[in-house]
Point group: C2
Chain length 305, copies 2
């Protein structure tokens, strides 16, 4: 079980090296991350996009392109389709966004002929290593699903359990979060959290332990859980998956962590046939590299399934 | 302008010492905080409650009760009414919860004859000093108003501006937070944030600068604001007041900060005639003392108004 990104990367290094297919690769921060991923033995890459521009950027960041396959395609949407097809047909193991808008990128992911659609809704997982917390935390959904319904939340849990499994966590603990840890009919989020808990007890959600509603302290802080009294609870400050009520709560916590705590993190889109890496402009270099490492771990798990 | 709790406490020390009236004072953690507040010249206290029990606890924490006025009242609801009346009639400057449930405590706050009702809705402010951020942040509402309407949010802003003013911030910057920094009709929170911004521009909300919707990074991180491009924005990582979409988002961020970042914080209820301190069981000792300091600063500002 990986407790941090160093362990996750060791895990990657012990497997066969995976390949990431980059859509519209003429993006300096993405190429820098791809270069570091290769140097650290995390992943190889196939670069699909405008070859002239890719070579121009590579020269400025001291990146030796003889190590990479380049597919020259100047049209961004065509480049995305070519790049995603490489994953679809097994030439590459995961798919990564370059200099293309998110909407067009996702359109290629969902393309019926060459995409990575899996008949499940997509969701976003943000994996955090936080100083003072002795395990990885899987935050979802902080970027993709806006106002998930109960049914959506079941899919989000299933998607995220798959990512946990890939990271060596066999039976993750899922905390449906709220402001309070008791059901309050005036707070629908708490009612849904209790329903998810019941569904898991009845075997309708498998492969994990769900216990909600939970406040953040009871989910991530064993001392707080002990102090408040946690009899009958299945999660006592030791949650793996933090399931947020909606995108606002999730995104605000996510950015609070990035900007105020000591963290390492990586992001991945799941619910697809292969890992999809959609880092944002505001993600720093290490986050991009960590996201590729996360993708490699998930790709390896999918291969062995 | 206080940038942290040390400065806030210096500010308190330079004013006449205030008095806190404690409802149902036979509560060890509350008495410890009251004792520290006196020792640090932050506030005196009048202890209303079961005198025998108060003396018993005082003996175990080495607290010299000859420094305090004690009013013996064994019935909790009666004790609360007597304690709040001391603030109502000006004998004490602020009101603090002891060993009484929150509902009964608030009932005394809202009592028509002896309470502190001000014809405004109550709201909760949590003041944070966060390592790496060079100003105090005022989070609201993380504990009290569950799903504030647009009108409620106007009141919350007005209540919180008063607390900022007391801390020396004359024209606070208010960030109505969301997952994104652009209006999206599918996300009602962003629409309301834009409405609040417009209301402030039109002078319907006074004494502050409102700029929303804002994501957390644009609200608190100047580098992120510069990186993303912040032309035309009035807040560029320098917000004072963080206005949350609802209690879930607010409370989850609040507890994330407490459990993962290096922080000092204090809480206060506002919208009342005098500061009300309602610390929770899970607040640590320093948070309780900081809350009393915050109450003293606000009481001083109210006196001079």
């Amino acid at each position: 079980m990986a407790k941090g990104f160093d362990e996750l990367i060791s895990k990657v290094n012990s497997c066969s090296v995976k390949t990431v297919s980059v859509a519209v690769a003429q993006d300096a921060p993405v190429l820098e991350a791809v270069k570091a991923a290769k140097e650290r033995n995390i992943a190889n890459a196939i670069l699909v996009g405008d070859e002239d521009k890719i070579r121009e950027i590579a020269a400025t960041i001291d990146m030796d392109l003889s190590d990479y396959q380049i597919i020259d395609e100047k049209d961004p949407e065509q480049a995305a389709l070519k790049a995603v097809e490489l994953v679809h047909n097994g030439t590459a193991d995961m798919y990564m966004k370059g200099l293309i808008d998110t909407k067009s990128f996702l359109k290629s992911v969902l393309n019926k002929e060459v995409g990575l659609r899996n008949n499940r809704p997509l969701s976003h997982v943000c994996v955090f290593e936080i100083e003072g917390i002795n395990k990885l935390l899987f935050l979802t959904d902080v970027a993709f699903m806006t106002y998930p319904t109960l049914e959506d939340k079941v899919h989000i849990i299933e998607n995220t359990v798959e990512i946990c499994n890939a990271c060596g966590i066999d039976m993750p603990k899922v905390a449906p979060l709220a402001a309070v840890e008791v059901v309050n009919p005036k707070m629908p989020v708490t009612v849904e959290a209790a329903e998810l808990t019941k569904m898991c007890e009845e075997g309708k959600i498998k492969g994990c332990i769900v216990d909600g509603p939970l406040s953040m302290d009871l989910a991530i802080c064993p001392e707080a859980a002990a102090h408040k009294g946690a009899e009958g609870r299945k999660i006592v400050g030791d949650a793996d998956i933090l399931l947020f009520p909606d995108i606002h709560a999730g995104n605000l916590v996510y950015k609070t962590l990035v900007h105020t705590a000591k963290v390492k993190n990586g992001n991945i889109i799941t619910g697809t046939k292969a890992p999809v890496i959609l880092t944002s402009r505001s993600d720093d270099f290490e986050t991009k590299v960590n996201s590729i490492a996360l993708g490699s771990v998930v790709a390896e798990a999918m291969k062995n399934k």
